[in-house]
Amino acid sequence: MGKRRLLLIVIILILAAAATIAYLLWNKPHKDVKEAKGIRITAAYLYNQYISDSAKARTAYTDKILEVTGEVARVALNQQDQQIVLLKTNTADAFVNCTLEENAGSPKLNSTITIKGICSGYIGGDADMGLPGDVFLIRGYLNTK
């Protein structure tokens, strides 16, 4: 086999490897929330952390997978027909607002459940109108384990 031919084969192999890597990166799956383990925390504690020291809470919880336990205040559907579960905190009208990836059936109001999801952070409400903000959890699943 000539040197030229060998070089050609090597180049083709490198290109094929590069194309495969690019393809895999491009189709990289989203974080597998359902099977992942999250940080265990209560809704009231999580909310208080964001209210009392937002910088610290952001480092500790934002974009992390959390397993949040709390009392169900409300179950509803958003405009995309995804289920929303509001978990109570110690502040009236303030919730850990969970948008579910997979319908959790119909959790009973005031029952204590755990939702696993990615924490996107806290959005303040409006002090003038007495509307407190929420801490948000996205891509959530009901934890049955």
Partner: protein
């Protein structure tokens, strides 16, 4: 004395009446869409807090940038890390008011065309914008919708040359919110 009581009750009614003009949602929706010949990119955020004061016409919207969900994980990663820089600028917001509130009768069912003027903040840059939208009143519930375009360049969002042809110069933003009355 009787007169004073009537005045007092009227005043109390006026105060409680005014506070009943506030509507809000914490699960409004904002999506954006970029279309080029190379590819279409869409992302949704269903955790939008919006407040509407029907007495003054004031409207506000705020969302967390990292809550936008894309079909492809890689796009979501690039959006958060390279373009919108979510860690540095976690929120996008709009604060403004309906400029033609006089033409809206919220006590009557209907679809009202409104013009909303205010400040839009994205990526730490605030710009004055006027957005056309619709307020829909149906059986006592109010919902709002709007479609408008923003240019990433206006908000100092730089798109690397390698993907410049894949991302539209103007991104279409769609807003839909169903409000509930603040008790």
């Amino acid at each position: 004395m009787k007169k004073a009581f009537v005045i007092c009750s009227l005043l109390m009614f006026a105060v409680t009446g005014a506070s009943a003009q506030l509507f809000y949602t914490k699960n409004g929706s904002v999506s954006f869409f970029s279309s080029t010949t190379m590819e279409d990119i869409k992302a949704n955020n269903n955790q939008v807090i919006s407040i509407l004061n029907t007495r003054t016409g004031e409207m506000q919207f705020s969302l967390l940038n990292n809550a936008f969900h894309f079909k492809k994980a890689l796009m979501e990663e690039h959006f958060n890390e390279d373009y919108i820089e979510s860690a540095k600028y976690p929120k996008s917001s709009f604060k403004g008011s309906i400029s033609n509130l006089g033409q809206v009768d919220l006590s009557k069912d209907g679809v009202y065309t409104v013009s909303v003027t205010g400040n839009l903040t994205i990526h730490g840059v605030t710009k004055a914008v006027t957005v056309p939208g619709k307020l829909t009143v149906k059986g006592g519930t109010i919902s709002a919708s709007a479609i408008f375009k923003v240019s990433p360049k206006d908000y100092n969002i730089t798109i690397p040359a390698a993907v410049r042809n894949n991302i539209a110069k103007e991104i279409e933003i769609t807003v839909t919110c169903s409000y509930e009355k603040k008790s």
